[in-house]
Amino acid sequence: MSQDSLEWAQAMKLARAYVRPQRYTQRFDPLEGLKNGTIFPELVSPYTPPAETSRSHEEALG
């Protein structure tokens, strides 16, 4: 986490939802953007489920 994000986090109150304002600085080439699902490199965030969580989820389902 960058220093900038830490300061943001400290200013935040508990139990409130936030959307940090995005600032446009760079973008992918269109083909690259199509592959990544976003034109903004800072928004690339592929979901990889933690192995532990998916196992306990299966147990919960029986």
Binding site: Q22, Y24, P30, L31, I39
Partner: protein, 85 residues
């Protein structure tokens, strides 16, 4: 990027430009004063229009009901359909 030559490559290029325009459109909805994003949006939109024209001149209309020209003859009914190409 080199100039796309075949139908598939041109279609992919159109899809990519449409997606880039969409994403910048969404950003501009909440940041209408961002001059840089606006310039990029306009540049991508112009490239999209140009690429669409290039595709339609080579392979026929991408849309119907007045959104694409059909020069010389009625080409909308020609196969493959744009979504089958």
């Amino acid at each position: 990027m080199r100039t796309p030559i075949n139908r598939e490559e041109l279609l992919l290029r159109i899809q990519a430009l449409e997606f880039a325009a969409l994403d910048l459109n969404l950003y501009l909805n909440t940041h209408p004063g961002d001059a840089r994003a606006l310039a990029d949006f306009n540049q991508i939109s112009a490239a999209l229009a140009q690429t669409r024209t290039a595709y339609e001149q080579a392979f026929g209309p991408l849309m119907n009901y007045g959104h694409s020209l059909s020069c010389g003859r009625w080409a909308w009914i020609d196969e493959p359909w744009p979504w089958e190409a």
